[in-house]
Symmetry: C2
Subunit: 465 residues, 2 copies
């Protein structure tokens, strides 16, 4: 396998192929097939997301994929932001359709006409819904699995509130939810407030969660948007308040995508292959029997698997005859399984298992009667180790740069003073190829603009995916 540091891009493509996450040989470029192993990982990410929004009383819905041109045209700023990326359905059977329909690029224009029917009085608010669906972007740029593709597995939450104060509270709740999700996925990130010219079409402001891949380029892995009543005014989403007056609702959104999986692959993986956080791993534990002539082995292996499965662990028993234990060890290490259990004749005799962590060398013994707490503890350790390693790597991929020259000499995310003016960030981009991700909210600070010297704030700059 390609060395991860030496050629990250090659390593990334290769590990996706050999670990069988997705197959990009589908005859339409940029539309890939989710293979069983990759789809399991993605569904586990979805489960983490669902658990964290369900507990905040979001309701899951599912909207149609098609949006008419009329629906899209209601919010002009919004459609303008997407018009070059829309796939258009223009024919049904052999007939030309009266009204062209787009495959959703995101669902504001699909949902808000319904919000306008659903929201009647203040008692209907807050309205908090989400869906997990595919969205479509006619990408003309170079595509890359899970990062830049044409059919994107997508999470989108949409809310409506009484006023700006409540929609701001929602923005704060999103941050709380995101902390839980990113923690389960062991992903480090900056929060950047996108500049005016790069905010979501129709939003008042957009906050992005930016991480960094080992190439030094940043990857946007989540966004939250404050709409205030921008969309409500266009889609006529009004409620009658306590005094009976009709008032526009205030709205927000929160978006995530399969880029979360890209970040997990790129950040946690190593030269041996994938490393899955326990909450995401398709299999948390792989059980590999070491051939022996102990006649109780099969029964013992089976008990180990049953006990763990019954306690909610995702367990894979690898009893393929055609492969040696050594081959299996390498195979599952490459595929990123957090824990490997080995059971040979000795383990059967001792009623114990030998466990190896994906994140460190060495093995340890766990008594059968200690199996469940033992495996829990080791999975917890793996999660901690992955988190610590990712945090350390992120620190190396992000630094304080006080001049354009320093920025240019550094591959990672530069945290530098910026006055907020586009002229200055354009100058930086021209000189360094780094674009401004926005004022850094997660490590805020005042600093003079490194271009014009005027007072400014610490902002994030990087090459991006």
């Amino acid at each position: 396998m390609e060395n991860k540091k030496k050629d990250f891009s090659e390593w990334y493509n290769e590990i996706i192929d050999i670990s069988q996450l997705s197959d990009k040989r589908y005859p339409i470029k940029g539309m890939n097939v989710w293979l069983p192993y990759g789809w399991k990982a993605m569904k586990n990410i979805d489960s983490v997301v669902r658990a964290n929004v369900d507990i905040k009383e979001f309701q899951e819905v599912s909207f149609p994929v098609l949006i008419t041109r009329d629906m899209l045209m209601v919010e002009f700023e919004h459609i303008k932001g997407f018009e070059n990326e829309l796939y258009w359905v223009t024919k049904g059977g052999k007939e030309k359709l009266d009204i062209e329909m787009a495959l959703r690029p995101t669902s504001e224009a699909a949902m808000y006409p319904m919000f306008s029917l659903w929201v009647r009085t203040h008692a209907d608010l807050p309205l908090k819904i989400y869906q997990i669906v595919n969205v479509y972007r006619y990408e003309t740029k170079h595509t890359r699995s899970f990062i830049r593709i044409r059919e994107i597995h997508f999470f989108e939450a949409h809310t409506a509130h009484r006023d700006h104060k409540e929609s701001e509270e929602q923005m704060a709740e999103y941050m709380e939810i995101w902390k839980k999700i990113s923690s389960a996925l062991c992903l480090p990130f900056h929060v950047d407030r996108r500049p005016e010219w790069d905010k979501f079409p129709g939003a008042v402001y957009s906050l992005a969660f930016d991480t960094a891949l080992p190439s030094g380029r940043s990857l946007q892995i989540g966004t939250i948007h404050q709409y205030d009543d921008n969309f409500a005014r266009n889609y006529d989403i009004k409620y009658s308040d306590e005094s009976g007056q009709a008032v526009y609702a205030y709205q927000t959104t929160f978006g995530l995508s399969e880029r979360l999986l890209a970040a997990i692959i790129g950040i946690h993986g190593d030269d041996t292959g994938l490393v899955f956080p326990p909450d995401v791993a398709p299999f948390q534990v792989v059980v590999i029997p070491i051939p022996s002539d102990n006649r109780e082995q099969e029964g013992f292996v089976s008990s180990v698997c049953t006990v763990l499965t019954d306690h909610g662990f995702r367990v894979k028993l690898d009893n393929r005859d055609a492969y040696t234990p050594g081959y299996k060890f390498n195979d599952w290490e490459m595929r990123g399984v957090p824990l490997r259990i080995e059971i040979g004749g000795r383990e059967v005799g001792e009623k114990s298992v030998t466990v190896a962590k994906r994140t460190s060398r060495g093995r340890q013994k766990i008594e059968f009667k200690e199996l469940v707490p033992g495996i829990s503890r080791l999975l917890h350790e793996v999660r901690e180790e992955i988190t610590a390693r990712a945090a350390k790597q992120f620190l190396e991929l992000s630094r304080r740069d006080k001049s354009v020259e320093d920025m240019r000499s550094y591959e990672g995310i530069s945290l530098s003073g910026w006055c907020g003016n586009r002229e200055c960030s354009d100058t930086i981009e021209k000189e360094t190829e780094k674009v401004v991700l926005g004022i850094n909210i997660s490590s805020p600070g005042d600093a003079k603009c490194i271009v014009c010297g005027k007072p400014g704030k610490i902002a994030s700059f990087s090459r991006t995916y």
Copy 2:
């Protein structure tokens, strides 16, 4: 609410509206919005399906929604069967696309080019995959929620095998899987072997699972198809057998859709509203506190909910202040929750709960310490009662008819002798508006054709959805 027997069609539309399963006011006709309650039910159906195919070692995947015209044209019979129903994407951004792409109407043409890459040797077989996705049909007929729509929530399993014998074994396994699924959903059905002119485009033969709604019309709720090597020859799916010879693979498919939910609504519902089988119910138990001045009530209610939730039951606590217990009883009965738990001052004092089943009048007491086995038992009873009621109703909606006159005077599914010739079934259709669903496999028998008098088999005839 509309009387179910008197005007089933009205009743059906109304109950979907008032129980908030889906909203058909979306601006594109035939594309409806899944509301939280309906989506929960559908996801539970998906879970039942997943559990039953996963255990048979099917692997879940996810394929792109778009299929190029070239990919579709590979199997001419197949595309011919769909060509009037396809939505075509012809533009990306402002550009006309070089190659038109259809939204999948089903995924043979998407999957089999990949099968051709994946299947190499006999060791790759059997290949058993499935996906749960939306499919698209440009319906020109009258649309109806969950029954005839343009965006269809769909389950499709696809397999490849060494030979006809193994693909036939797969067909038998599908029957076994379907029995488990239909049993969890409490749905009665006939198995009909579709006539040649009505089989799936590209199939050698198609077996359909047909149930009946109270209108007397039949509803196809599932199908399995034997392809033999028809598709393999066109999509070049070949493997090298033990002797190294290249051989075409034999294939089958199994399809289900949101019609399963339609059947559950239409068959189990009554004049009070929905009746959900426990495996499908968004909430299996609703807990309704009856206001009292017992200060321990809130704590006790909370314990009941926690114990049940911890044991895997789907529980809804209805503590809305603005509604009376009576209103809540009616509301949750209408929405089909299998069990209602009432907790007032007396129950708190006795450390017990009062339980009412959706399927029968009367209430019973369960001691708190017996809560988990008690609720399990009652849910089991509800399932048995729903199954028995549906079976009885299905018997009434299906009868042996020995003449065209008898068929005409009967609303339900007629089981009648048929020689297999299209002329005779066309005659029947002209005289009775009933189409032939095919030779009945589930209650097979010999019988003379009721039109021509020649020897034949018992076949199913009905008006259909």
